[in-house]
Symmetry: C2
Subunit: 114 residues, 2 copies
């Protein structure tokens, strides 16, 4: 189990620390197939696949529930059989530890549905 | 009320007619602030705004319910206070009348929430 699952998001204020690049690489190893998109503000990104729309929608709602409970809200893009989740921290325009925690929790939700 | 609201999606098979460009322009006039993104496969696109996450999520779920009832599924991208809906017809790689109908019904849903 990811050590990130034992953590909970902390308040992320202006000036909160970005995760340094070398730590990002280590944290990625603790996640399942997440990528960091650095084309703009760095974001943790993963596309999850499902066998039908209601399963996709159910996952989306569970991620939204996680977002509310952590008070940290990702961008979610979904179609019939895919949901792409992007975690980043708006206030610091980059990746905070919260983003890695929420990525791990997203994986946990996906695994629980199998 | 949009005349599109009186219509229901029809089955869209391979070879079904694309809406000609001149008709697209007329149909857009019957919608509220939708744009056609022609950067790739043409898509009807609109971003809706909300005052909090639960309102955004509620709208997203209502659009998903519409998608299931019409058996026509858009791409939905949402964050804390915005939901962007993209309607297009995968099988014909472009805009079918179904897309304009669903855009009008999306507007109707949004208006019902005000």
């Amino acid at each position: 189990m990811s050590i990130l699952l034992e953590k909970k998001c902390t308040a992320c204020e202006l000036g909160a620390p970005l995760v340094p690049d070398k730590d990002q690489i280590e944290l990625l190893k603790d996640l399942d197939s997440w990528l960091i998109d650095k084309s703009d503000i760095p974001k943790l990104v993963k596309t999850f696949k499902f066998s039908n729309y209601l399963k996709t929608l159910n996952f989306v709602n569970l991620i939204a529930k996680l977002a509310e409970s952590e008070d940290h809200h990702p961008r979610i893009t979904f179609e019939w059989s895919t949901a792409t989740i992007e975690w980043w921290s708006h206030k610091i325009e980059g990746l905070h530890m919260n983003d890695f925690i929420c990525a791990a929790k997203s994986d946990e939700i996906y695994t629980s549905l199998k």
